[in-house]
């Protein structure tokens, strides 16, 4: 583990200035690990690991260890939580802005940024969980005390309604709405529930420990009271896509490997082509950012489970055990799309069927207990990042919604579309600065 840490710390030497500032920040907020004397080096590493996404998403020969000691850098050219190796757990929250006061919103975004920088480095929010006046409620809610940051990433996005809602330009942002941030069309078969749709803002919290992800959303929601409230949220587990191609491809709740041909977090060329918004793509403030589509996809688990193995494999176009394309031996063998049924999921979704079109998937499974009929309320919380939703998710989903054999077993019930800006490069900058500044 020590060797691993040293290796990770290496590429970050050039970030000396930032690290110094960050270290100065740390004096204000106690490291949770320092409190319990957990791997003392962690503090220094947290400060030193300010670097680029490339550094964070370095190629590794093994699956990412579940409990990696190194924190994911918060500061960088791109937001973390996109190309970052996918963590084990998710807490995603969409927020409504409930004030019309632009200054209050900006102030909150600055406070959120500070809190996010602290939490992703394993530090407590504000004066901490016990460090304030005894007469005052603690700044930090405390359930993460003693826990490492667990590779926490916090990723912010801005929804269409932030720019204009019911015809009202609440914050003077209408002219800055990117063309790519479309109102998603109604896709065939969508059964969207009002309580799981939209949002002015979103935060994607990913961590290897669910308590850390939940703590992050809870504390941000608390800081935001009076300015935002949670419109809807989703917990997720068991990542269903991997951005580390050499790692074992995870299975979704249907038991199939999904996301075999995902964009790798280390593939700079593919990221530049398909994920990061480039200069000239549209609104300048989105350069270096990415568009996030979130979909809560309910699986009708019970009927799927009583479907024959052959049909299951036909539906996906892959074998269940190995995940090999039908007619092939190994998962990563080049698929023979024509060997699959016309309606097979892989055939329809594959880049070769879509003129090379692809998206970065980062979804999680979810199970929210059972519905009133005793059926598992479970499925896939689909998260996908892309350079232009109009050219990527929309045409892809239009096609899938019309033809995918999988539709017999799934229903899209929640949906959100968000513009995730570029990263916060150093302390003092804040989420949304390019948009509001």
């Amino acid at each position: 583990m020590a060797a691993e840490s040293a290796e990770n710390a290496q590429p970050n030497q050039e970030a000396g200035t930032d690290a110094a500032t960050d270290a100065a920040d740390q004096r204000g907020g106690l490291s949770r690990r320092a409190v319990i004397g957990w791997a003392g080096a962690g503090v220094a590493l947290g400060a030193a690991s300010v670097g680029t996404v490339a550094a964070a998403t370095r190629h590794s020969e093994d699956p990412v260890p579940a409990k990696q000691a190194v924190d994911i850098p918060f500061y960088g050219d791109h937001q973390s939580g996109i190309a970052t190796p996918v963590q084990d757990r998710l807490h995603f929250a969409a927020f409504d802005v409930i004030t019309t006061n632009r200054d209050a919103l900006v102030k909150m975004l600055k406070e959120w940024t500070k809190a996010a920088a602290a939490m992703t480095a394993g530090r407590e929010v504000g004066a901490g969980a016990t460090g304030g006046l005894p007469e005052a409620p603690p700044d930090d809610t405390g359930e993460a005390l003693g826990l490492p940051a667990s590779r926490l990433t916090l990723t912010i996005g801005f929804g269409p309604t932030l720019f204009e809602k019911d015809g009202v330009d609440r914050f003077g942002l209408k002219a800055k709405r990117p063309d790519a941030l479309v109102d998603l069309p109604q896709f065939r078969g969508d059964r969207l529930e009002a309580g799981r749709v939209g949002g002015d803002l979103c935060i994607q919290a990913c961590a290897d420990d669910p308590q850390i992800a939940v703590h992050a959303i809870r504390n941000l929601a608390r800081i935001g009271m009076g300015v935002v409230n949670v419109r809807w949220s989703q917990l997720g587990f068991g990542k269903t896509s991997s951005t580390t191609p050499d790692a074992q491809t995870p299975r979704n709740l249907m038991g199939f490997k999904d996301g075999t041909h995902n964009i790798a977090g280390t593939d700079e060329a593919a990221l530049a082509k398909h994920v990061w918004v480039a200069p000239g793509d549209g609104q300048d403030w989105m350069t270096g950012g990415s568009y996030l589509v979130a979909r809560r996809i309910r699986m009708t688990i019970e009927t799927w489970d009583r479907t024959s193995l052959k049909e299951q494999e036909d539906v996906f176009g892959r074998t269940k055990l190995e995940g090999a394309p039908l007619g092939k031996q190994k998962e990563r063998d080049t698929p023979d799309l024509k060997a699959m049924k016309d309606t097979a999921h892989v055939r329809l979704a594959h880049p070769d069927s879509n003129e090379g079109l692809t998206i970065l998937r980062r979804g999680f499974s979810f199970t929210d207990g059972s519905d009133g009929l005793g059926r598992l309320d479970a499925g896939l919380f689909f998260l996908a990042y892309q350079r232009d939703t109009r050219k990527q998710f929309v045409p892809l989903q239009t096609k899938l919604a019309a033809n995918d054999a999988l539709n017999e077993y799934i229903t899209h019930v929640g949906s959100g579309h968000f513009a995730c800006p570029a990263g916060v490069r150093k302390p003092g900058e804040w989420w949304g600065q390019a948009l509001f500044g």
Binding site: V35, I36, I98, P134, E135, R222, G226
Partner: protein, 377 residues
């Protein structure tokens, strides 16, 4: 109102410091050297000293017994000065409170039931007064006057309600129910600080302890609205409600009121709204929740307005935020008022309830910081 056990009387308690999560080190968990040690066991409640100076008092509790315990400091008449529940076997907890000179009792309650094992303590001198701010003393005096006015105005209102009940006049009783509660709801933390009145007057059916007889407003509410029938028992309860509230009215001059207690009381009023009114659980038969809601907010605002001169000096941003949020929530409530009557809560849609919930959170979160802004350091 909440269940009996949770009538946590922070109007009086100043602060309950950090929960002593076992194995989690924090400087707040360890009491200072001059703390009074309380060794609580299943059969004893031993204090390291039973006489100490008034002012900031710290109790360092160690539960050495096998049962979860709780520790109370009671003033005369079992008025709760401060308390700490749920202290597990083998764990420690610290309570801090501002205690004025006088005679008190410390009670350890192994198993968290009964009157507990009592120890008399004497608090000497006038330590608490030494560090006070005259503006805060004036605020406390003004708040006591306000609480008294509310109680004085409640008695005729509750008498009229009781008379309607005794006359068997359902419609009239329905009209007079919500107005009879306004003064009480505005100053509920004061009433709760007496410990014994609230369970008799304002307990909901689910808040009853085993063997406790259900009395007070909500029993009558159920008879009037759900049963549409007033029996002889209810008529007696109407008289008893008046008597219990007269007791409350009489005891207000003796209530322990401090500035931080007022601030915490204001926050608690919003907590009450958040927990019971937003959900419609408070007045589940009459659906007059918004009347109680408005009274809670009015009472919280009164306490805040009195503390504002000091709070604004220490934290101008906080005062500005609170002014804005109080205005917003009261403007929202005003939309639901026709004449003197608020919209029945069963007619308030889920979406509207969410708007109320947002407004309560928007006010409650900054209000939770008021106590720290009026602490005399």
């Amino acid at each position: 109102m909440s269940a009996r056990r949770s009538t946590a009387v922070t109007l009086l308690s100043i602060a309950v410091a950090g929960a002593a999560l076992a194995g989690c080190s924090s400087k707040k968990d360890s009491a200072s050297a001059d703390a009074v040690q309380v060794n609580a066991s299943d059969s004893a409640c031993e204090l390291s000293k039973t006489t100490f100076p008034a002012g900031h008092v710290e109790l360092a509790i160690a539960n050495k017994g096998s049962k979860t315990t709780e520790v109370y400091v009671y003033a005369a008449g079992d008025k709760i000065v401060t308390e700490r529940e749920n202290i597990g076997p083998g764990t420690k907890a610290t309570i801090t409170a501002e205690i004025k000179a006088g005679s008190y009792e410390v009670a350890c309650k192994p198993g968290m039931t009964g009157d507990g094992i009592r120890q008399k303590i004497t608090v000497t001198g006038d330590g608490a007064a030494a560090k006070s701010d005259p503006r805060l003393e004036a605020a406390v005096t003004a708040y006591r006057t306000y609480a008294q006015e509310q109680a004085d105005a409640t008695i005729p209102a509750v008498q009229a309600f009781a008379d309607a009940v005794k006359a068997g006049d359902l419609e009239k009783a329905k009209a007079l129910f919500a107005p009879s509660r306004v003064g009480w709801e505005r100053t509920e933390p004061v009433a709760e600080s007496f410990g014994d009145i609230d369970p008799k007057t304002d307990t909901r059916e689910d808040g009853l302890e085993a063997g406790q007889e259900w009395t007070g407003w909500h029993k009558l509410e159920k008879s009037i609205w759900a049963d549409s029938k007033i029996d002889d028992g209810d008529k007696k309860l109407a008289d008893q409600l008046v008597a219990d509230l007269k007791d409350w009215q009489k005891r207000i001059p003796a209530a322990e009121i401090t500035a931080t207690g007022m601030a915490n009381g204001a926050k608690e009023l919003l907590d009450e709204v958040s927990k019971n009114k937003i959900t419609g659980e408070e007045d589940r038969y009459s659906h007059t929740d918004l009347s109680d809601f408005a009274a809670n907010v009015e009472g919280a605002r009164k306490a805040y307005d009195l503390l504002k001169p000091v709070a604004a000096e220490k934290d101008a941003d906080l005062a500005k935020t609170l002014d804005g949020e109080f205005d917003s929530i009261q403007a929202l409530l005003a939309k639901y008022k026709q004449g003197d009557v608020y919209t029945s809560y069963d007619k308030v849609t889920e979406a509207e309830r969410k708007t109320f919930s947002d407004a309560v959170n928007s006010l409650g979160e900054p209000l939770s910081k008021l106590a720290a802004a009026v602490v005399v350091q």
